[in-house]
């Protein structure tokens, strides 16, 4: 028989009292784990919502305007540089963005590489009848990944090179409906769908595949602008912009700072709030356990006296209580994780409207560590008092 056997037997006999202590630990860890689990789900939800904000990096041609003046006479402005980006540079932009994002995320394995959305666009003006409209050549797939808010109001999304979708207003203006054919700069296009109103410029534009647009408007191998969506809190969006400006000639990359900073700030605030809540709950749990442990010492004054009388040292008495605390901590950690996860499933959807809660296995380890730390911390003072029990007094008090 060893000391921990003695403790285990004692815990078995006093299971009711011990379960009170476990309950105290469970309440603390349960709250922490449920907060973290809900926070984890909320984080995914926030990420998902942030994705809807669209591009956070815009690459435009590096053009500059030089004001011309002679004495006091204004001679207008001269535009220097190209109005288009060679399509070859789009893949360079993609390469740099993906490399930096994966480096920031610490992903080395090719199979798990995070791939950013890079959507090149070619803008062109044309007339349909006597109406002047903007035609936008897009990569249909990439565009949809960035413009997650796009909904098809009628018909379906474009698939073939001779198909297109129209914005809500332009469709109304031209009296277009799904299946209609129009001629854009001499190229036949079938309108497969009409977009739902977005409140943005998209409402006034007709979208066709970029290859078709390049041929129709004689801009082979050229794009007007590239929208990049590289979203994650770790994304160094401004660094990516700097890198692109340095490495790719003839383009100017602009980080959409506002979005990036909002993302960061929101997550930081949420995390800080969660941590504060967790800390307070743990502290409350700690006091509950201290109370139970003090009672436990009080109840066992006689047993402590017996152990001292037959040769237990103070450090052995201390160990009896620390072992008990570890048992309480392990049980509290297990039940705290289970209860916390269940609680998260229960109240998570109420807090983050409809968010799907998933249990987070790595919080189990955290739960155990927290619970054991709380139980041991709560036991230190009562255990110290136990070591001061005088043998003669412990028997006299009966």
């Amino acid at each position: 028989m060893r000391l921990h056997h003695l403790v285990a037997k004692d815990v078995m006999r006093r299971r009711r009292r011990v379960s009170y202590a476990v309950l105290g630990v469970v309440i603390g860890t349960m709250t922490v784990i449920s907060i973290l689990t809900i926070g984890h789900a909320g984080e995914s939800k926030i990420y998902a919502q942030l994705e809807d904000y669209g591009a956070n990096l815009i690459v435009i041609p590096a053009i500059s305007q030089i004001d011309l003046a002679l004495g006091g006479l204004d001679l207008g402005a001269l535009t220097v540089g190209d109005n288009y980006i060679p399509a070859a540079k789009v893949s360079q932009v993609r390469q740099i963005t993906d490399d930096m994002v994966n480096e920031a995320l610490g992903i080395e394995d090719e199979r798990y590489r995070y791939s950013s959305s890079v959507a090149p666009k070619l803008y062109a003006n044309t007339r349909v009848g006597d109406v002047s409209i903007v035609v936008v050549g897009i990569d249909p797939e990439e565009e949809m990944r960035i413009k997650t808010w796009w909904r098809i109001q009628e018909g379906r999304y474009l698939e073939e090179s001779d198909q297109g979708v129209a914005g809500a207003w332009v469709a109304e203006l031209l009296e277009l409906s799904a299946g209609d054919r129009i001629v854009l700069n001499g190229v036949d296009i079938t309108i497969t769908g009409i977009l739902r109103e977005t409140g943005s410029n998209d409402d006034y534009q007709i979208f066709i595949p970029i290859g078709t647009a390049q041929r129709a408007f004689d801009k082979e191998g050229l794009v007007s602008v590239v929208d990049v969506r590289a979203l994650c809190t770790a994304c160094p969006v401004e660094d990516i912009a700097d890198e692109i400006n340095m490495m790719v000639a003839g383009v100017r990359a602009v980080a959409v700072k506002q979005i990036a900073m909002t993302e960061m700030g929101m997550m930081e605030r949420v995390n800080r709030f969660m941590l504060a809540l967790a800390g307070i709950t743990l502290a409350i749990g700690l006091f509950g356990v201290v109370n139970t442990m003090i009672t436990s010492v009080h109840e066992r004054v006689r047993d402590i006296g017996v152990m001292r009388a037959v040769g237990a040292s103070r450090s052995q008495i201390l160990r009896v209580f620390i072992y008990e605390a570890i048992i309480v901590g392990v049980l509290g950690g297990i039940f705290g994780y289970v209860a916390g996860t269940l609680l998260a499933y229960g109240i998570g959807p109420i807090i983050f409207g409809g968010t799907a809660i998933t249990h987070v296995p790595r919080y189990f380890g955290l739960s155990l560590i927290l619970a054991i730390a709380v139980a041991v911390a709560a036991t230190l003072y009562p255990a110290f008092r136990a070591t001061r029990v005088k043998v003669a007094d412990s028997f006299r008090s009966l």
Binding site: L6, K9, D10, M307, G311, S313, R314, F395
Partner: protein, 230 residues
Amino acid sequence: MLEVKGVSKVYGEGTARVVALDDVSLSVGRGDFVAVMGPSGSGKSTLLNIIGGLDYPSAGEVVLDGQRIDEADENALVDIRRGSIAYVFQQYHLLPSLTALENVLLPLLFRGVESGTNKALDLLTRVGLEKRAEHKPGQLSGGEQQRVAIARALVGNPSLILADEPTGNMDQKTGMEILDLFRQLHREGHSIIMVTHNPETAKHAGQLIVLEDGRIVSRIDQRGDKRNED
């Protein structure tokens, strides 16, 4: 082996001052059986606690095998309880979670001795409880619990057994059986100091000490001649 010299114990101060022991001296040799008698509150248990290092005297010395118990620090007292002195209490004081066998093994556990089961079983046989080894204290009668407590006291080979009214909670018959057990231990060479109310014990003790109001009022040695101390 044991020398108690001029031991006094005073509780409280001023008008609340209580003298529990007043200048008590006694000497116990190896193999002696000393019975301590006296009315309630005469200081018997206090004397036993001081001899056992469970309480400190206000004055005087307690020397066991050349070691000052009254001056022993915490660590020295732990060593004394692990080696020299074992206690048997009126209330048995067994741990309720443990079986009889485990209770006997308890002193060895705190000494870090893991092998001792055979010895503990031998001792349980010695006190007549070989069939009760796996019972918990709650399943044992008072007499049986006290036998377990005696086996527990013996497991560490103490040089002195201190017994504080070991038959106080028992009926006459059971008490006699426990006293018989102590007498046998005495015959086997164990040194015993026993506080008792039972006059029977006195007959068999080598030395009888009677306390009243903290003073020794009577001492009877093994040859049976009585002398008053006042």
